[in-house]
Symmetry: C2
Subunit: 321 residues, 2 copies
Amino acid sequence: MKQVVIAVDLGGTNTVFGVVDKEGKVLHQTSFKTQAYPEISAFVTRCGEAVSSLLKEVGGAEQVKAIGIGAPDVNYWARTIENATNLPWKGIVPLAELLEKETGISVRITNDAKAAALGEMLYGAAKGMKDFIMLTLGTGVGSGIVVDGKLVYGRKSFAGELGHVSIRPESGRPCPCGRKGCLETYCSATGVAQTACELLADSHYSDSLLHRLNPSEITSKDVFEAAMQGDALSNEVFRLTGEWLGEACADFATFSDPEAFVFFGGLTKSADCFMPHLVETYQKTVFDNYKGTAKFLISTLKDGEAALLGAAALAWLDETV
Amino acid sequence: MKQVVIAVDLGGTNTVFGVVDKEGKVLHQTSFKTQAYPEISAFVTRCGEAVSSLLKEVGGAEQVKAIGIGAPDVNYWARTIENATNLPWKGIVPLAELLEKETGISVRITNDAKAAALGEMLYGAAKGMKDFIMLTLGTGVGSGIVVDGKLVYGRKSFAGELGHVSIRPESGRPCPCGRKGCLETYCSATGVAQTACELLADSHYSDSLLHRLNPSEITSKDVFEAAMQGDALSNEVFRLTGEWLGEACADFATFSDPEAFVFFGGLTKSADCFMPHLVETYQKTVFDNYKGTAKFLISTLKDGEAALLGAAALAWLDETV
C-alpha cells in the first residue's frame, strides 16, 4: 500500500519538497532556491535529486502514491506552467511530464491557490466539506472553489479568479488587470494599506496613529497594529474591508451555494478586526435562500505547511493514480 | 435497451408530459392544468394516469429509462419541491418519491432553469460543451451553471442564482429579494421596461415612440418593436442592457472560466439589439485570461420544447439509472 506522497511547493523564491502522509504529517522536507536554475532542464534534474533523497528516507518509490505540485500560472488540463511572471522559465513548461520522465513517479500539478483549497478540504478547516470557497487574502486575492468535492477548473483552468470580480464597477479603484473595482484592489493587504491612505486625508481622523508613518510605506500590518491600539481610522479600514468582503461573498454564494467560506493568507491575522463586519454584511445583504447557511472560517493549516499540504492533497485526492 | 425517457415540465399553469428519445425528438405529449389538483395526492394520481397513457404509446415501462421533471423551487439533493410560490402545494413535497411509488419508474427532478442548461448541453447550443453558463432572460433572470459536464448545485442546491448578483451594489435598483442592484432588476424583461421608463424622463428622448404608451404598461416587447423602428431611446435601452450583461458575464467568467454563455428566454428575441454591446463590453472589461475565449450563444431549442427537453436531458444524463 502507498504510504506517502511527495508534495512540491514551487514558489518564485524557494522550491520546497516534502514527504506527507495521509493524515497531513510532513515527515521529511528539503528545499532549494528556484532562481538558481534559470534553465528548466537543470531545474528538473535538481528536482529529481530532491526526490531521490526523499525516496531514501521513505524506503523507495513503491511507497509513494504520486508527486503533487502547487505552482503559479498552471494550466491544469495541459499539466503545464504557462508564462509565469515570477518564475525563471519563459513560455510553456510541461513540468509534470518532465518530472514524470525524470522520476518515474506520477505527477499532478495545479495552481497554488487551488491546491490550498484541496489542502483545506483534506486536512484543514473544510475537512469533510464538498462545497466551499477558499479566499486567500495576501498581496492579492486568490481563490479556489470546490463544488461537490471537486475543484472548479473551467475551460482553460482559469476558473476561480475571484480577486478580479468587480465590487465597484462604476467608481472603483483601477486594477493592474485593467478592470475597475476588482475585489483585490480593496481586500488584499495592498488594498487595506490603500484604504488607510485614503482615510488619512479625512480630517475626521487627524489624530490617527498612522499619521506618524510615511503614507507610501504604510502596510496592512501597520493598520492592524494601530487598530489593536484602538486607532479609529484603522478600525474603520477593517470595518470597510469586512463590508466589502461580505458583499462579495453574498455575490459568490449565488454561484455555488457553498457550505463555507474559508480564509487564508496574511490578512487573516487581522480577522478579528474585519470578520464580524464581514458576517454582518453578508447576512444583511445575501439573497434569502442563503441567509444563515454559510460558515465563515479561518484556515487551520500552519502558515509554513499550508502550501505543501495543498500539493500533498492534490496527490492524495487524485483517484486516477 | 431503453429507448426513451418521459419528460415532465411542471409549471404553475400546465403540467406537460412528453416522451423524448435520445436525439431530442418529442414523440408523444400530453398535459393538464396544474391548478386543477390542489391536493398533491390527486396530482400524483393524475401524473400516474398521464404516464400510463404514454406507456401505451411506447410499448410499456421497459422502454423507459427514467422520468425527468423540471419544476420550480426544487431541492435537488432532497428530491423535493419546497415552498413553491406558484404551485398549489404548500411546504415540502417529496414529488420524486411519490411519483416513483405511483409509476414504478425511476424519477429525477431538478429546478427548471437548471434542467434548461442540461437540455442545451444534450440537444442545443452547448452540445458537447463541458463548461458553460446558461442565463434565462425572462420576467426574471435565471441561470444554470455547468462545470466539467455537471450542473453546479451547491450545499442546498441553491447554486446558480445569478439573477441575484448585484451589479450596482451602491446605487442599484431595489430587488424584491431585498438586495440592491441585482442583475435581474436590469436585464430581465421587467428590467428593460423599467430602463425605458427611466429614460422617458430624459428630455433628450422627447420624441421617442414610447411616449405614445402609458409608461406603467410598457413591456420589453414594446421597447424591442420601437428599437426596430429606429427609436433612439429604445436602442439606448438595449445598449445599456447589453453593457450590464457584458459586465456581469465578465464577473461570472472569473468563477468558472466557461467555454460559452448561452442565453434563453423571451428577451433573446431582442438579442440583435443588445448582443453586440454585450460582447463588446465583455471583451473590454473581462480579466485578461478570459479575453476572446468565450462564445456568446442563443439557445437553439424551440420555445415550446425547451422545458421538456431540459427535463428529458436530466433523465438521459443521469448515469445512475
